[in-house]
């Protein structure tokens, strides 16, 4: 595995003994996780187990401080890179709560982002076509491109916009943070199908979710269970079904002694 140079060899994304603190409180306490090319992994776990912390830390949010461990993306340690550099390397985060940016028009923002990701200008016409086609796929109204980024969007619109960005930026490694939360059944189906359409032999995905229902559409190759800042279970798709049936309690009961007093960790 050592010596992978970002071409084809070795796993796509490797997290080793990752410790992350938020405002001085340790949330991740040694996460180990490997995502291979073409793999979709589901990351599940009760509230406060550290799922969103992992997502934000991987993308380099300044409030999430890595105190120990590494994250290698195609062999390169990305934790020393600025957020925008990570994104240009092909890492993507679909936000749980995308923030509004008043006055910034969606279409302009998306074009700027695609340009940054590709490292070259995108002709207006070509971009327009790409945008129209992708929005069509996600059943988004064309007027969407003229609105301000995430401003006044409904929950469903926000999540669609995240998947739209993922489709346009074509990341090699995507982390989706509860992209299924706050959606009604129809919106969930559209968003999930949009995600599933982005599966590819070169692309890895880490899909953070609480519920089985998203995984009915996006069938995971691997299911990981995070609890109290560590991955405590790894299994196949059947593990998600088991969790759905039994709830998180059996995990909680099994691991609670080790995590005494930490059950109310940050999200």
């Amino acid at each position: 595995m050592a010596g992978s140079n970002g071409s084809g060899a070795g796993p796509l994304f490797v997290i080793e003994d990752l410790h992350v603190s938020v405002e001085g409180k340790e949330i991740l306490k040694g996460v180990d996780l490997v995502v291979n090319r073409g793999e979709v992994q589901a990351l599940m776990g009760p509230n406060g187990s550290g799922k969103s912390t992992l997502a934000n830390a991987l993308m380099g949010h300044p409030r999430y401080v890595v105190t120990q461990g590494r994250a290698r993306f195609r062999g390169e340690d990305i934790l020393t890179l600025a957020t925008d550099e990570r994104a240009r390397r092909g890492l993507f985060l679909a936000f749980q709560y995308p923030i509004g940016i008043p006055g910034v028009v969606m279409g302009n923002f998306l074009r700027t982002a695609v340009k940054a990701r590709r490292g070259e200008d995108v002709p207006v016409r070509e971009f327009r076509k790409l945008l129209d086609e992708t929005m069509d796929l996600l059943k988004m109204d064309p007027s969407f491109a003229r609105r301000y980024v995430n401003e006044g969007f409904s929950g469903g619109e926000k999540k669609r916009a995240e998947v739209l960005q993922m489709a346009l930026l074509r990341p090699e490694m995507a982390v989706l943070d509860e992209t299924d939360s706050g959606l009604d059944i129809d919106a969930l189906k559209t968003v999930a199908e949009g995600i599933d359409a982005l599966r590819g032999p070169e692309r890895g995905m880490l899909v953070i979710t609480h519920y089985q229902r998203l995984l009915n559409y996006v069938r995971p190759d691997v299911v990981q269970v995070l609890f109290d800042g560590r991955v405590v279970r790894t299994g196949g798709a059947e593990l998600a079904l088991e969790l759905e049936a039994k709830g998180y309690e059996w995990i909680t009961n099994e691991f609670a002694p080790a995590a005494a007093g930490a059950e109310e960790g940050a999200a």
Binding site: A82, L93, I101, T112, A116
Partner: protein
């Protein structure tokens, strides 16, 4: 990663700071101000006695009035403005040009660099260019002249339309209004005079461009705009100056009369170099069903104290103030506006956006006054400030005096730091920090910028980008 903003002086982003070394003024008064200087200015202009009297009286007010303090003003007393170290009148040419060919080459070159002749050809109804104390170029489209539209420099208007000027001059901003209005009234020179006859709609903006060239110069233009019933005009002013180590003073007075059913928009893109004190009094009187709006963009200067005012004097009058301020290192933009409701069913909107960075300071200072009996008055005041780094500052000073019960008043204010979450979001899409910050700032000011004609919106966005260069990361 989010890094601390560097200390970038605004000169770094200021592209208009050259001066014309070959320029030799035709005439210049001695530094400093006294009665003889006031008389000399009046004599050089060959003015009628009533204007000479007006100046001398105003000079008396200037001597008596203290520097502004208390609620209005940005602590001018703490600055080193020295009235004795200023040239009050610098005459650049003997004759005003009607074509650009008639303008001396070195001066013409300056305005070409600023893109004025080109803008005139493309999208303006008329242009005035003032260089130091006098207007060096003036032109208005022939068809508008035939419709009776008057667009002149104010000195020419005193000679050519004395009755009209005398009827309104100093009535909206009295000479004793404040120290700087008194100063302007004593030593004023140049500025625009506009008269639009009833029902005439001027199709494209009239533009004035004010350029200071001489070091330690005081520019005191005086503008008077009278828009008759049902008429419509948009006036735009731009201003720049060389970057000198010593200070210059710009102290204008603008008076506007908006008659019944008329519409006026006055747009300012103020981009003085950061050695200029910009202390300006602007006021308009709006009559029945008239609409008066100020679009006030302040990007340059060392200290700006400017609160464009709208007096709503008859039922149905509407006033708007859209204020945009950006302050970088060594700058204080003390801006805002006043809306005075003095009649029933009058409406007003104040919308202020300010951005401070690199140790700059912005203040919103505004007054909303509703007189007793102004039933049904409606007003919305909104001021938002964006602070880009720890060294910068923003304050909001709203003054509300509502002396009538039956009114609808809304007031909202927000101060935000350049959002870490917004930056993170944009950067997570591969956009670098500087570009992300620029996008956020441009988005923040968009509600004001979109009110401008396209050409000016582009110009303003470009100026903001220049100021933002090197601001972050």
């Amino acid at each position: 990663m989010v890094t601390k903003a560097k200390d970038v002086t605004s000169e770094a982003g200021y592209k208009y700071g050259w001066h014309d070394p070959e320029f030799k003024p035709v005439n210049i008064t001695k530094k400093g101000l006294n009665q003889a200087v006031v008389e000399e200015i009046s004599a050089m202009k060959g003015e009628p006695p009533w204007m000479r009297e007006f100046r001398l009286k105003a000079y008396g007010h200037w001597l008596e009035r203290p520097m502004p303090s208390g609620f209005w003003g940005g602590n001018i007393q703490n600055y080193s403005l020295d009235f004795n170290d200023i040239y009050y009148y610098v005459k650049p040419v003997t004759e005003q040009g009607k074509t650009w060919e008639e303008v001396p080459a070195e001066i013409k070159r300056t305005f070409e660099k600023l893109g004025i002749p080109e803008a005139e050809r493309k999208f303006l109804s008329g242009v005035e260019a003032q260089y130091d104390s006098e207007v060096v170029y003036h032109n208005i489209r022939e068809d508008l002249k035939k419709l009776g539209v008057i667009f002149l420099d104010t000195d020419s208007a005193v000679r050519e339309h004395p009755d009209l000027v005398r009827q309104y001059f100093g009535t909206i901003v009295p000479p004793n209004d404040n120290k700087f209005a008194a100063l302007n009234s004593a030593v004023w020179s140049g500025g625009s005079f506009i008269y639009v006859p009833p029902g005439v709609k001027v199709p494209m903006p009239l533009q004035a461009y004010f350029r200071i060239n001489t070091e330690n110069m005081g520019q005191f233009e005086r503008t008077l705009i009278i828009v008759d019933e049902g008429a419509d005009v948009h006036y735009v002013e731009g201003c720049t100056a060389p970057t000198y180590s010593s200070e210059s003073l710009h102290s204008a007075v603008v008076e506007i009369v908006v008659k019944r059913g008329a519409r006026v928009r006055y747009t300012t893109i103020q981009n003085w170099s950061s050695n200029v004190y910009n202390l300006v009094t602007k006021r308009m009187a709006v009559y029945g069903d008239g609409v008066g709006s100020w679009v006030d963009g302040n990007l340059g200067s060392k200290l700006t104290m400017k609160y464009p005012s709208t007096f709503l004097l008859e039922p149905g009058a509407h006033g708007e103030i859209l204020s945009l301020a950006m302050a970088g290192a060594g700058q204080h933009q003390d801006a805002g506006g006043k809306c005075i409701h003095a009649a029933p069913n009058t409406t007003s909107v104040i919308n202020s956006k300010s951005v401070s960075k690199g140790g700059g300071r912005t203040s919103y200072r505004g007054q909303l006054k509703v007189y007793p009996g102004a039933k049904g008055a409606k007003s919305t005041v909104r001021c938002d400030a964006l602070i880009l780094d720890e060294a910068s500052r923003s304050d909001t000073y709203p003054l509300m005096e509502i002396d009538e019960q039956q009114v609808t008043i809304g007031h909202e204010a927000s101060v935000s730091k350049l959002g870490e979450e917004q930056l993170f979001y944009l950067m997570s899409r591969g956009i670098n920090e500087a570009e992300a910050a620029k996008m956020i700032v441009n988005g923040f000011v968009e509600p004001i910028v979109k009110e401008l004609p396209m050409e000016y919106a582009v110009e303003l966005n470009r100026l903001i980008e220049l100021q933002m260069e090197g601001a972050v990361g």
